[in-house]
């Protein structure tokens, strides 16, 4: 039972990580990365590491996507303004 759960969680993490790398658009990637955070948290819980799961959830579900999206928006706004001035 434990082994099956661990295997499922591991494959989930591997699949999500591959999807995160394969997603080229940073906005879409931010969404996949927040999924990866949840998947990692599940894996850590199954591997009996609730502390690390908590840490990963705190960072992965809101903080990292927010930072990524804000950077994307800043770059995008700058490009828009360049388009207008040139």
């Amino acid at each position: 039972m434990d082994d099956a759960l661990i295997a499922v969680a591991l494959l989930l993490v591997a699949a999500t990580a591959t999807a995160a790398v394969a997603t080229r658009d940073p906005v879409h990637q931010a969404l996949v990365l927040s999924l990866l955070g949840v998947a990692l948290a599940l894996l850590f819980t199954v591997l009996q590491a609730p502390d690390v799961a908590l840490s990963q959830l705190a960072v992965g579900s809101a903080l990292t996507p927010l930072l990524l999206l804000l950077s994307v928006r800043k770059v995008w706004r700058r490009r828009q303004r360049q388009g207008r001035t040139e």
Binding site: T18, V21, P26, D51, S55, V59, T64
Partner: protein, 115 residues
Amino acid sequence: MSVLPYLVAVWVFLAGCYGLATSRNLIHAVGCLTVCQAATYVLLIAVGYRDGATAPVYSDIEPASRPVVDPVVQALALTDVVVGATVTALLLALVLQISKRHGTVDPDELSELRG
């Protein structure tokens, strides 16, 4: 089963490296770097796991009543998760500076600029 977690960590790490090397957008590259970081956490936690054990937290179980997994690697991983996020923020700040100075976030165009 006895090497599957390690292999998954290797796979995630290599996938992250591939994305890092072929990325056409620095923000995407930073995202790939976080995937690489995730691989190290998986490896660390997998090394510390013990069959049939539980977490080394004794607030709700009696000490020595159940076998526990290795707390040392968990401590390493947990600090690194949070510190890694701030380092990601630092990298994103660098990306923003690059985009401000050069008007692009594509690493290929950047190397052309430098000549």
